[in-house]
């Protein structure tokens, strides 16, 4: 099971990385389904208005709760499909602006592992992923930083390489996100010029991530570093409100832990994660923490020989 929980959360761009994600180098075995729930909470008090870091007493702290239903199914050991359905609510601790809530964007991923090869004592594996996300409700993206999302239908293409040596591993990935136009409720808006239309062109985005840590059948513990950059967009002008097509860059560091029950309650796993935004542009300096639980169901009717967890890790 792996779900890369990527919530472009308003200003926050909380690049929340659950310990089981579509950004990790783990495949579900054939006919195995891993499903679960996660909860994440993200808070920020300071944000970057362009490059100017400030607070806003009229917002106080912006907090976002995200409740996610996720699943990952192994079509084969080399081909997995994943989904995530998030319900989000937002709140500002000060000022008058009303928090928003609702189903955000469903995301679907196809994950393919074309190559897995022994090199020396370690194993290298290569992954190609394609994802698509689309809004599940008619929320507005034009009420940042309290909107629950950006409402841009997004296609993501990701390449990932993993190297595992014993119980130590490193994974690097790069993702290109193609973001479709967004429709506003108003017929005119200003970016760096006036636009007399309700359509907003969204900048695409690139995301790089590296993960290192310990990975065994029962425990995964890793550190992550993630960098997201929009390709274009524009800065929030001084004391202006954020806008959906702003440049939104964020560099985050994080730690993930996943514990899998191997004997009693076999198939059950728990995750915990924490992330912190160290640098950004037109985003909130978010601290994000999450918890989750997952369960693996093996739909293989023939034989029970293969342990889903063991076969889901590329080596050992």
């Amino acid at each position: 099971m792996k779900k890369y929980l990527f919530i472009i959360n308003l200003l926050a761009i909380a690049t929340q990385l659950a310990a089981q994600t579509d950004a990790d180098a783990i495949m579900m075995a054939k006919n195995n389904f891993c499903g679960g729930f996660t909860y994440t909470n993200s808070n920020w008090k300071n944000h970057w208005e362009g490059t100017f870091k400030r607070d806003n007493l009229n917002l106080g702290t912006i907090s976002t709760n995200s409740y996610n239903m996720m699943g990952n199914y192994g079509i084969s050991g080399k081909l997995n499909v994943l989904f995530n359905v998030p319900y989000i609510n937002t709140k500002a601790s000060a000022g008058t602006l009303k928090g928003q809530k609702g189903l955000q964007d469903v995301s679907l991923w196809v994950k393919y592992m074309p190559l897995e090869k022994q090199i020396g004592n370690g194993t290298i594996s290569v992954y190609a992923l394609a994802g698509y996300s689309t809004p599940l409700s008619n929320y507005t993206p034009d009420f940042l930083p309290l909107s629950i999302g950006l409402r841009s239908k997004t296609t993501s293409l990701r390449a990932m390489v993993d190297y595992q040596l014993g119980s130590l591993f490193a994974t690097v990935s790069s993702t290109y996100m193609i973001r479709q136009n967004v429709t506003l409720d108003r017929t005119s808006y200003y970016t760096t010029q006036l636009h007399n239309t309700n359509q907003v062109a969204m900048p695409n985005a690139i995301l790089h991530q590296a993960r290192v840590g310990y990975r065994s059948s029962g425990l995964i513990a890793e550190l992550t570093i993630t960098d997201m950059k929009t390709m274009g967009g524009f800065d929030i002008t001084k004391n202006n409100m954020p806008f959906v097509s702003n440049t939104m860059n964020a560099s985050t560091i994080g730690a993930n832990v996943k514990y899998t029950m191997l004997e009693k309650l076999y198939g059950l796993s728990f995750i915990g994660n924490i992330n912190y935004t160290v640098a950004g542009r037109n985003v909130g300096q978010a601290t994000t923490a999450g918890l989750g639980a997952f369960y693996i169901i093996d739909f293989t009717t023939t034989k029970k020989s293969t342990s889903a967890v063991n076969s889901s890790t590329p080596t050992n």
Binding site: T140, T155, Q180, L184, Y189, V200, M241
Partner: protein, 512 residues
Amino acid sequence: MKKIIYLITALLLFAACKKDIQDRTANIAALEPLKTDINAGLWKPILLSAPDEFALAAPANAPATPNYILELNEIKSYQANLSEGQQNQIKYWSAGAVLRWNEILRELVAKRNLPPYQNADGSYPFPNANNPLAYPIFPFANPPYAARAYAYVAAAQYDALVAAYHYKKLYNRQAPYKLDAGIRQMLPASDVAVYPSEDAVVMGVTVELLKLLFPSDINEIQAKAAEQRVYRIMAGMNTRSDIDAGEALGKAVATKFIARARNDRAGAAAGNAAIWAQFETNAVAQGETPWKSLELPARPPMLPLFGKVRPWLMDSLTMVSIRPPAPPSTSSPKFKEELNEVLSYSQNVTREQLRIVHFWADGVGTATPSGHWNDIAADDFIQLRLSEVRWARNMALLNMAMADAAINCWDTKYNYFNPRPSQVNALIKTVTGVPNFPAYTSGHSTFSGAAATVLSYINPSKASAYDAMAKEASISRMYGAIHYRSDCEVGLVCGNRVGNFSVIRGKADGSN
């Protein structure tokens, strides 16, 4: 398996194709008026004492003189080598001078409609017209400032065009393409004489006013003017002397409007700490809960003396005489009832109501409510295929009404100085920003009531639609939980009343 991957990838890429976005007015046809309004030189100006108050000499270069031939050669030289950029320039500007400058003005308002960021000690800096590029950049183009700016530009364009049409008829110079078969006529033909050029007169008057109103953006404004200055020459429609004469006439007319703007009391509208405190004292003396800024740190009220600015359509005494009666007392049952209604909207706002709030919000970083109504009007005037002078006349009627609506509304707000709903009940959360000035009457309602009244007079076939829009704009402020019902309903009535002054002027201006 690989085939499946390729197929899925192809589908995803297809799904991600971005559609080009085009502004509503990006590709409209060149202006080809249904009526020439050839006698517009007889229409009643706003500030000019007469259409020939500023003299314009007869064109010096008569056709067939050597100098005129030089002007024709300039056209031929452009036309021999029109770049794609120059052709786009022709296409853009030929949609209409009043339309394009109206759009540029809306853009400037949106760009400069940003409240200043606080000082380290929690006080707020004020923009300074004499040092406009120092932060906070001048102007803060908030709703009253913007309404006034739209009115000055539109009224001045109208007077300048009345003067231009007077001289057009007087000198009756023909278009170059009519005099020289070697010149390509690239835009719709017209029977209106070409000296002085209406494009240039609009450009001349507008640039001068924008230097006053948006001094931080002169570079951008001049760049636009430079494009407009040559496009009709390139298109074979005017010679250089038509343009020069128009620009000079426009600049001359601008002096009257600039002189008025310097003395209309808007410069003192920000008030000072003693004045701000006095409003509060007055409200308390009346037994009312006074307005307080909900911003943190507390921000001084927006342009509290704007109600004293000189109106366009009536004198200041009349303006005071049409001030509406007081809103429900903050201690009355009626007030509590209205407050609870706002609370209910705050807690139960539907998605459709949220759409309406955001459609009409026109808050920070936008062209403001009066800019939104200019947008609505422009879309309709394009369909009506008006002459430049009638475009200007209609925009002047609309924007003078909205500027006076701003004065009426601000006079009312600071006379009663009543609190916003969220100030009285902190449970009231809003889905748009709470404006930093008293509640009664609603600015959106007053602007919209005035605009709908004027537009219904100009374009009666859409009267019921304008009325519905005004009502929707008005109630959007209740859905957004930032206004009481009294603010909105009385604001609409006040707006209608101010709008009627403009209709009366329109009926008597000789254009009908």
